[in-house]
Amino acid sequence: MDDPGQPVAYMERTRAYYRALGYKADYVWAHHDDVPFTRLAKPLAASRVALLTTASPLDASNKDAKGWRHVWSAPVDPAPDKLDTHDLSWDKETTHTNDRESFLPLAAARRLAAEGRIAGLTPRFHGVPTEYSIRKTRTQDAPDALTRLHEDGADAAILCAL
């Protein structure tokens, strides 16, 4: 039974779930002793912020011929009302993702830009594929996302996990 006051133990939950699915080996989660840290290079009010999501475009244009997903980008204005979250693992019994702002808060960020909290958003938001392969994320998707943020002149990034 879960303690109602405690965060869900998702790694433990996932371990039990995948054993029930019949997988022989437990998933090995990414773990690091050291964590990088970079300070803002300019005041927040002068900074341009990029938003990243793990959702996909509705037209599946982030998938290659073999079905593998890749990093993708789309304009923040106009932003798509809906994104595809079907393939991702979230609590589909309890909630929904019909409100894009609940997982990719572009309008909320724009409100804060209008209030002067940040200089603005980058012209595009970016989608990163959720992968079991830590290596693929590290060696392919993370460098790809970095390149796109550099292209957009991002000073900082907010990453929202579904």
Partner: protein, 125 residues
């Protein structure tokens, strides 16, 4: 896995000079991976940036993330969003639950997934 993915991406961006903040609802996965800044929203997975159709809450959570970009002085800084899930109070037990009643269905689901994966060229890890 979404939380691990964004955590790994955040680490890479940070290593390359871009400050980051993760917004998410799986605290254990993000903190086990290790990220510079994290806004934890204690909601069911799917709505990390605020409850659906609640723009003021969503704005407050993004504002909290921006505050963290400015105020964090060291990595592994986690703040908790001051909001609670407003639906089923038993939501914590729902996601990926395993029970005697669904054991056969889960095993069949696993078999189907393995069949599909065999049809694709795997990325070696």
């Amino acid at each position: 896995m979404c939380h691990q993915t964004v955590s790994l991406i955040a680490r890479h961006l940070e290593q390359n000079g871009i400050p980051t903040v993760v917004i998410g609802s799986a605290r254990d996965i993000v903190e086990y991976c290790g990220v510079p800044r994290f806004v934890f929203t204690d909601f069911p997975l799917g709505n990390p940036a605020g409850l659906p159709w609640q723009p003021d809450m969503q704005r407050a959570i993004v504002a909290q993330a921006l505050d963290l970009l400015e105020t964090a002085t060291a990595p592994r800084t986690t703040v908790v969003a001051p909001f609670a899930w407003n639906g089923d109070p038993g939501w914590r037990s729902v996601y990926n639950r395993v029970t005697p009643e669904n054991a056969d269905a889960l095993r069949a689901l696993g078999d189907e997934r393995r069949r599909k994966m065999l049809a694709r060229k795997p990325v070696k890890d």
